[in-house]
Structure formats: C-alpha cells, structure tokens
C-alpha cells in the first residue's frame, strides 16, 4: 500500500506580530515546526505502515528550510520525502498550492491513500486537502480522527461532526484530512533522524520544471485570491477600570449593569 502525506512547516506559535512600519510579519525568533494536524496525519500513516506494511512518502511545498520538517518526518518513520521548492511557488493561495501539490502527486504516480492535516495553524483555512482531492478526482473525508480498517479497496473511518461523529466507508484511492485523535504523535527516533539529515537521506527536491508547470499557474500568479491588506486587529473599547475594595467595585459594576439594562 502506498501512502502520501502532505505536511506543512509552520511558525512554532501563533503569536506572530506585524511590524508596525512595514506591515509585514515578523518571522525572526520563531521556531518552525510541523503543523500539528499534519503531525497527526503522519502518525496515522506510520501506524498504518506498521500494521499493514505500507510505504509512506511525505510531500511538502515550502522554502528550502522546510527540508527540516521532512527530516523529522523520516525520523518518525516515513520512507521517503519530497520538497517542492521554487521561488515561483511563493505567495500561493490555496488554489495554487493545491494545484502544485496535485501535480507533484501525479508525478509520484502510485498511491492508495493521501493523508493531510485538517488545517495549518498559520493559514487556518482547511482548504488545501479538499482542493487537492477534487483536483485529483478522489473521494474525500475530512475531520477524520480514527481509521477503523483498510481492506478490499475501502477505508472505514470516524469523522467528527459538531454533535457527534459519523462512521464512513470510502473507496480507495482517497484523501483524508486528519484531526487530533486518541493517539498522540510519536517522537522521531534519534537514529532515523540522524540518517534523515545525512546527505544520502531519501529526500528529493523538485522545482516547477520537475512537475511540469509554468510560473503563471503557480505561486502568486496562479492564485485566484489576493491579499488586499493585513492589519493587527483593533480594539475599540476604552475600558473603564473600576477601583477600590471588592465591595466598592461590585457596587459600581452593578450600577453600570443596571444602567445598561443588563440585569
């Protein structure tokens, strides 16, 4: 069985700030990690490898430093990895990203299952997984937190809904987006991690020509949506600080609540 896992390297925490002068994101001093939902997808893939004997290939689109994320994935147990890296890919929205990933998967060729994290903690869109599925004409199930079985050309999964979950049977090949489940992702093994950082690691780097796309179809040029502006959220309330003893502040607060007909 062949599994492809789509991952993204993201800033280590969401506490990024905008530079007040340029309006650009300040990325210095922020660690890069594998996106948490993608880590869960990797864990799922490697568990399937252990139970069913699958081959796991990890794919990411990113700048050159994203190779660290791939090394980590191989350290966790993935068999090989591909970094899609090209200046032309930069500035892509989810349309262009899903197209680029889709073309790369077509070049990989054989696969039975594609796993992706539900959403990335920087973009927060949850769009790339389903868009890749549609591009490749694959059935999809999103918000998967448990894979029950894989057999006879089907995968049976549990899908989270707001008020419970569905058990769904989906024919293969398919794409699943994964959310956190009962099993936490494993840490990479040191020996595997070291060999994954070695020059002979099973990591390939592909650019636009390698996947047969033109610059107009990818990156910023290939995007349908454009960012018009970014800004830090503003707060309009000018808070009134109530001071004094507990009895005093409570009295004043109740006055104000009454005035505004809240109680």
């Amino acid at each position: 069985m062949n599994i492809v896992v789509l991952i993204k390297q993201v800033p280590g925490n969401s506490d990024v700030k905008l530079d007040p002068k340029t309006g650009n994101l300040i990325r210095e001093g922020i660690d890069a990690i594998i996106n948490p939902d993608d880590l869960q997808a990797l864990e799922t893939a490697i568990t399937l490898k252990e139970t069913l004997g699958a081959k796991v290939t990890v794919l990411t689109m990113g700048p050159p430093q994203a190779i660290d994320a791939l090394s980590e994935a191989i350290g966790m147990g993935a068999d090989g990895a591909i970094l899609l890296s090209d200046r032309a890919f930069a500035g892509a929205d989810t349309w262009a990203t899903s197209f680029t990933l889709g073309k790369a998967i077509q070049r990989i060729g054989k696969f039975d299952l594609i796993l992706a994290g539900r959403q990335a903690i920087d973009g927060d869109t949850a769009q790339v997984g389903p868009q890749v599925a549609e591009y490749l004409d694959l059935p999809q199930v999103t918000y998967v937190f448990d894979i029950e079985t894989v057999e006879n050309g089907y995968v049976r999964v549990k899908r989270r809904l707001e008020d419970g979950y569905e058990r769904i049977q989906c024919s293969l090949p398919a794409l699943l987006t994964i959310i956190g489940g009962p099993v936490k992702p494993r840490y990479p093994e040191v020996a595997s991690l070291l060999s994954a950082c070695h020059a002979k690691a099973p990591i390939q780097v592909w650019n636009a020509a390698d996947i047969g796309v033109t610059t107009a179809d990818v990156g910023m040029s290939g995007s349908f949506t454009q960012v018009v502006k970014t800004f830090a959220p503003k707060f309009e309330r000018h808070g009134e600080l109530l001071e004094g003893s507990a009895v005093e502040v409570v009295h004043n607060l109740i006055e104000r609540l009454k005035q505004n007909k809240l109680i």
């Binding site: 969401s14 769009q127 607060l253």
Partner: protein
C-alpha cells in the same frame, strides 16, 4: 502560452542558458533552444542582448464577469433543521445585495426539505434553489459538490457564502476547485468595495494575531466561508419569494462514500451562541472549586458558563463550552471574564460581545483592552461579592 527563441537573432552567447533556473535551454548548432522544462518564468527574456527571445505571455487581465449576478447562501441543514449560520448569512447577504443592487438566493439541498424554503424566504431569500433527493439525504462531499457545481454553472452567481462549519469547510473547497473559483475561509467581516464592485473578505490568520482582507478578482463566484455567530440575523416576515427546483444529474454510483452510522455524542451542553449572558473562567480560576464560584455567579445572573482552552484542558469545563479560536464564537449581551488573561485566541471568540466585564489580578492582562469595565482584583474576593450584590439587588427590585 510559450517562450521561444527567434533563431535568426540568436548568436549563441549562452547568457540565457546560464540564467535559466530550470536547465531548460540547450545550445544546438550554435543557437539557443528552449526545451520542455521551461516554466515561462521569463528570466531569459531579460538577459538576451539581441532581444532574440519572445513570448506571448500577457499580463493578467480581469475577465468580463458581467454575466455573474446574485448573492447566494448555502442553506446548511441537518436532519431537516436549518443551521443558525445559514440564517445569519442571509442577513448579511441582504446587506451586500442592497449595495450591489442584486438579489439574494438560498441554495437548499437535502431530502424532504422543501418546507424549509419558506423559512429561508422569511429570513431574506428572494429565490430558493431547491435540490431535493434521496442522494442528498445526509451530507456527503461528492453529491453536494456536484449539484452545487451544476447550479453555479447554470445560474452564475457573483458571490457564494457558506457557514464555516464542519460541513461548510468540507464542501466549500471542493466546490471552489470544481468550479474554478477562489475561496476565502472563516471570514469575520464582509463588505463591498465600491470602486471595483467586488467582495472584500476579512479573516483572521495566525490564530487571530493578524487580520487579512482578501479579494477575488480573477474568478467567479467569489466564495467565502463565514464564521458562525458573527453575522446578524435579519428577519423579513411576510416576504414573498420564488422557489426554483433543480433536477440533478448525479447518481449514486458516482458517489464513493457511504455513511454507515451517525453516533450522537450526548454531552449535556448548551448552545452558547444563544446565551444572553456568559460567565467565563480561565487559568486564574485555579481549580474546580474556584469554578464553583463562577457557577454561583452565573446562577445569580441567569448566565451560561464558558471558559478558555486552559479551562477545558484542566477539566473544569467541557470542550463544548470553550470560547475562542478553536472553540465557539459568541456574541452575548454581557460577557464576564474571570481570571482570563485575554490571549488573542480567546479574544477571537468573544470580542464582539456587546458588553465585556473583566476581573483579573494582573493589571497588564490583555483582556482589559477589550473590556468595557475592568476590575483589577482577586476574583476570589470580587466574584462572591458580586454574586452577593446581585442577589441583594434582585431582592430589592423584586419586593
């Protein structure tokens, strides 16, 4: 779209070959030749001294979208019940429609759901597109994206809005890919740009630390999923509308998923989005006993209980009561935040409350930035005092 060498003008100087990042140029018989690996990046064009390299690539122009009209709202329903966000979106759609001088339509897909059409009209729809069939009984990605694509191709809307629910976030990207249109996720604000007549979609990124305003100039419909609990419902009682029934061509053998069963999870939770007053607790509440004080306050106020992610992880409240970026978004009349620091991820879920009270020991806690009334103090003193004060004042009022 291509880049090629005019052989007569080429002198084989190799500048282009050196410049190409993709190894796409070969020199054969003293002339440059551009091969299959060309990505039309244009690097070679700039370095050729003889202007021997030509291209037919045009700068991107905005296509003519004058045929695309109307603001559509996907009316999500489950088990024959409309989700609240569908109605919220109809409210917003009415506002956008007025500015564009266009109509509001609802798209209703399901099995035996025709009677919901009237409700949709009473909340703002001028038209309802109805696709009713057994294949649409429970939501599945394929039949729903199939029929939405059919409707979009047939009726050409300018804008399509969906709630950013589990279903919406599964369906919208699939539809956007299928129809070839741009999609913006999880919007908290929508407006029309007067000059360009396009939809401006504002959404949080980086967990809410950054707001981005997005436009979709090069495709239609302009698609957006919208966060539930943000837009306002605008009832239009007595409104008349038209229902257009659509017969879909999708058949069961085209659908590759089967729902085996639905397991409802019985968590005794309240729909926080309907609460008028909410009392929320964070890290400062310390323990379950501390939360007990908040429950008493909530009782005195007739409020619902909620909390931050910290409170959920500590087991003081259930996940359904988490307010924030990864929890629910609420807009109550009054939000009382006790021992909540006010990290951006939590603020994202309650910032639009009409009035906010914050009680925190730390005068620099970011929660005070969004509070109407802030109390810098120990919640273990203030909260019981407040509960007492409310009970007394109620007794006074009720006498």
């Amino acid at each position: 779209m291509a880049v090629w060498v005019e052989i007569d003008l080429c002198d084989g100087c190799r500048r282009c070959k050196r410049e190409c990042p993709y190894d796409a140029i070969e020199i054969k018989d003293g002339k440059a030749q551009i091969g299959d690996r060309c990505t039309c990046c244009g690097a070679c064009l700039e370095v050729c001294h003889h202007k021997a390299i030509h291209t037919d690539i045009q700068p991107k122009t905005i296509p003519d979208f004058s045929e695309y009209k109307g603001i559509w709202v996907f009316a999500e329903q489950r088990g024959g019940n409309l989700t609240r966000v569908s109605v919220e979106l109809l409210g917003k759609a009415q506002e956008l429609a007025k500015q564009l001088n266009e109509e509001v339509s609802a798209v209703l897909v399901g099995h035996h759901v025709a009677d919901l059409a009237d409700t949709l009209i009473q909340f703002g729809a001028d038209l309802v597109y109805l696709a009713d069939g057994e294949i649409f009984g429970n939501y599945r990605s394929e039949p729903y994206s199939y029929v939405l694509d059919e409707l979009i191709k047939a009726y050409k809307p300018s804008i399509l809005l969906m709630g950013a629910t589990h279903i919406g976030r599964d369906l919208a990207p699939r539809v956007s890919r299928r129809t070839g249109s741009g999609l913006t996720a999880d919007c908290t604000e929508l407006s029309i740009d007067r000059e360009e007549g396009i939809l401006l979609q504002t959404r949080p990124a980086f967990g809410g630390n950054v707001m981005a305003t997005i436009a979709n100039r090069f495709s239609r419909p302009q698609m957006a999923t919208v966060r539930p609990g943000v837009m306002e419902v605008v009832p239009t009682p007595g409104k008349e509308g038209v229902v257009i029934t659509h017969e879909s061509k999708v058949t069961e053998d085209q659908v590759r998923t089967k729902i085996l069963e639905f397991v409802k999870e019985e968590s005794p939770h309240v729909d926080l989005s309907k609460a008028k007053i909410i009392v929320a607790g964070g890290r400062g509440v310390n323990d379950l006993e501390g939360f007990g004080l908040l429950h008493e306050l909530a009782s005195a106020l007739g409020a619902e209980i909620a909390g931050t992610r910290v409170a959920v992880e500590a087991g003081w409240i259930s996940a359904a009561n988490q307010v924030g970026q990864t929890g629910v978004t609420v807009r109550p009349e009054l939000y009382v935040a006790c021992g909540v620091s006010g990290a951006i991820q939590h603020r994202a879920g309650m910032m639009d409350s009409r009035f906010i009270v914050a009680i925190n020991k730390d005068p620099y806690a970011p929660i005070f930035k969004v509070a109407d009334w802030g109390i810098v103090g120990d919640l273990f003193d203030v909260v019981p005092e407040l509960t007492k004060g409310l009970k007394t004042s109620c007794e006074v009022m009720c006498d």
